[in-house]
């Protein structure tokens, strides 16, 4: 197929500019001397790194909810599974630097382990752990998804069951005898690939990796949703029976997207752990999955920019308000959620598009809107006089 060479659209330019700002400029500003007015502190950069991992999680939610109509309340489970898989590597990297000066992770020493459990052994390897952060969530999603989709569980039922699955896993990880650190989880990491994990350089590198990964995932999902597969996926969202009666095995399609999004969530979790420095089972409490859904709803579901915008803005708001007025954060979060669902079903992105559409419909574009606003203001002024 021949494709006519199009000049870059404004959308493409926006993506390139934002990616450049995020991946190159921000880390560069971090290397400036702190006295510079453009300086971005280590803390801020690290915070943004965390937001971007959460944005990856939000994309995985949106791929299911916004594009396939499957509201999964288990995405935080996959996120955390990825986190734990990579966290096991980080725990073993602590080695004798830990409090107990033992080769075993501290919590195992406290629990009286004398040697590593079998499923921990391979986590000494960095690449094995990276892969585990992908295939462990994928495997769970595959088994659960197969069972759920095969028996045609959908809608609210699917949401409830994924929530129950997450809840069960959460209970399991809280137990000490799972050998996953119980309710303290993993923390106190020291090294990653031999580098000091807390050093600003390492954190900066992690930030760049996160931002790049997010960009790749975004582009990948853009491609995916534009293929015929993406069309089938959205058709399933709108009328699953019709897709079935068009000869598509909706089970395989849903399973594919479910597994894929679990892997994306796993990647997010893998990048989250070294930057936040702690992971514990409370991160996979059923509420956390719902929070990720909130981000998508706030940003705008069924778009790929929406989840990123939503995850970053809600988490930035949370960071701000939990320090400014901690008691009211839950009120605020709940209210934002209710209001968004009631009045902004398409989220911030939808709001933006309607504003842009409104302006472009006005004569003379933005300038025309400005003129008409000024005009009406003048009129009112005249009226009061």
């Amino acid at each position: 197929m021949t494709q006519s060479k199009l000049p870059l659209s404004s959308e493409h330019i926006a993506i390139i500019v934002i990616a450049f700002l995020g991946i190159v400029v921000a880390p560069y500003l971090n290397t400036l001397p702190p006295t510079s007015w453009l300086y971005i502190s280590d803390f801020t950069l690290n915070l943004w790194g965390k937001y971007l991992t959460l944005a990856i999680l939000a994309i995985s939610v949106d791929l299911l909810w916004g594009y396939t109509g499957l509201l999964s309340l288990g995405q935080s489970l996959f996120f955390i599974l990825g986190g734990y898989a990579f966290g096991m590597y980080l725990m073993l990297q602590i080695g004798v630097l830990g409090q107990s000066k033992s080769e075993l992770p501290d919590f195992m020493v406290f629990l009286g382990y004398t040697q590593l459990p079998w499923f921990w052994r391979a986590s000494h390897s960095f690449w094995f752990s990276v892969l585990a952060a992908l295939w462990v969530p994928a495997l769970v999603a595959l088994v659960f998804g197969y069972l759920a989709f095969r028996s045609r569980i959908k809608g609210v039922y699917f949401s409830i069951l994924t929530q129950a699955l997450t809840y069960a896993a959460c209970l399991m990880f809280f137990r000490n005898d799972t050998a996953m650190g119980g309710n303290n989880g993993f923390t106190d990491f020291k090294l990653i690939l031999g580098y000091d994990i807390r050093a600003p350089e390492t954190q900066r590198a992690l930030y760049i990796i996160t931002a790049t990964t997010l960009l790749l995932i975004y582009l990948g999902c853009r491609w995916l949703t534009s293929t015929k597969f993406g069309k089938v996926q959205q058709a399933i969202r709108d009328s699953e029976n019709r897709v079935l009666f068009s000869g598509y095995s909706t089970v395989s399609y849903k399973l594919f997207i479910f597994v894929l999004s679990s892997m994306i969530a796993g990647i997010g979790g893998m990048l989250y752990v070294p930057q936040v420095g702690i992971i514990n089972p409370s991160d996979m409490a059923p509420d956390k999955s719902l929070e990720a859904v909130v981000w998508v709803a706030v940003g705008g579901r069924g778009t790929l920019v929406g989840p990123i915008v939503g995850a970053v803005s809600v988490n930035a708001l949370r960071s701000y308000s939990t320090t400014a007025f901690p008691e009211y954060w839950l009120f605020l979060q709940g209210l934002v959620f209710i209001l968004v669902v009631l009045f902004l079903p398409k989220g911030l992105v939808g709001l933006w598009t309607s504003i842009v559409e409104y302006i472009s419909k006005q004569e003379g574009g933005l300038r025309g809107v400005w003129a008409s606003v000024m005009e009406s203001l003048m009129k009112r002024k005249g009226a009061t006089k």
Binding site: R152, Y328, G334
Partner: protein, 541 residues
Amino acid sequence: MKLLYHNITRLLLLFLLAGTLGLHAQTPSGGNTRQLITEAILSSGDEQKKKISELINADDVALTSTILTKWRKSEVYIATDAGDKKVPYTLEEDKPIRIDNGQPLTLPQGSAVETDGALRKAIASTLNLLGIADPDPKVRQGAVAKLGGQQKAEYVPLFKARLEKETNAQVKYTLKEAIAITELADASPEIQTEALKTLGSLYSKRSGDLLKKFAGDPSVPERQAAAKSSLVKLENYLSFCETIETMFRGVNYGSVLLISALGLAITFGLMGVINMAHGELIVVGAYSVYVMEGWFTRAFGDAGLQWYFIAAIPFAFVNAALVGLLLERSVIRFLYNRPLESLLATWGVSLVLQQSFRYIFGPNNVPINSPSWLIGNFTILDISFAYNRIFVVCFAALIILLTWLLLTKTPLGLLIRAVMQNREMASCVGVRTAQVNMLTFAFGSGLAGLAGAFLAQLGNVGPNLGQAYIIDCFMTVVVGGVGNIIGTVCSAISIGVATQTLEQVLQNSVLGKITVLITIILFLQIRPGGLFPTKGRGLED
């Protein structure tokens, strides 16, 4: 109020006391009792111990045990009269009363009688023996069990004598058991064997360790066999009891689930979405009980504690229903055709409510005192049934009955069912669906409030209480099949029993819960629509 009540009772007591004192003055009641006790107190050494043990023959059992109890606590004093005669006395209401005649002491007060370990032991054993004849069957039973455990052959005639007089079945049982246990210490293997057999037929839980000891002793084969067979009998019996107890706990947990999930099932059946704030409606009910308790105890003192719960039940229902009504009017009614989104919006509501609870009642659990008629338990065959749990089970049954009547026998129920089955059609034939939605949602929420009221009697109440139950509630509704009350009943009871049984079997509550969750997921493989699926003939179901 409280003070007045106290004063009245105190006056009454004084009056009664005065009456009895007056009686004593004319005809010293209790025959030889006072004489015997005085002698015992004033003697010493082995002579004293003998006298103490003979006190079991005293005429007035109650008086004897009162004074002996005081003696044991070194609350018997000795005054000396002019003739250097020692006069023992005790203090009643801070007034010295002579033991020998029950009259107030007119002499200067003396010092307490000294007691040593041996003496206290002697007093205690007499007190126990006296307990056998105590008017209160509970005390009798306790005394018999204690004496039986000492395996002293000299008690057997006492037990046998009592057994003939005894009318209370439980005390009779304990007496037989005590006799058999005491006989186990007998020198003759034949008697021991008989006793072992008796214990087996009595299913005596208390003798489990003794049976095990004899079952492991091969010196007398016959005796060992008897012990073994009795032990097997006992163990079967105990595991039977345990099963029943687990079942009961399961049914109880199922009832709590049922009340909680019933409201959810109704609102879900009506509007097609699970209300994530349902857990918080439960908490509203629970806090209503707390508030009502506060009001009642402030208004009526201790008596209020007895009756507040009766008022708290409708209060919890109404409060939760009102919150539900508000929720329906402000949020849910805009989302009837967007089930997934209403799930999310109600979650937002649940966050706001949780934070409000923390704001109003504080972040910690609040204590709730149960009325005394809900505290305690009764026992059938070594299975104890707690009153509050029985109350919950009965009330769940009542609520089911009322809900069923409401849905099937009232005009409102007809409307609710009509809207549940086909909203468009119902509104076409003139049903005001908006009102029906509102009422049904309020009703479902009220049921959640009732569930909260009962949870408040079973455990702590805190802002996160709802979260602990909500997932189980979801499961119950999903397994039962949407909008089906019989299904909800069956699934609540099965999930309740399964959870308790698995926790019992696996000895681990978390593993039990996980197993139940996984079982439910697998169950839905076979029956995706739940136990009683609703069959639609529509194209997009």
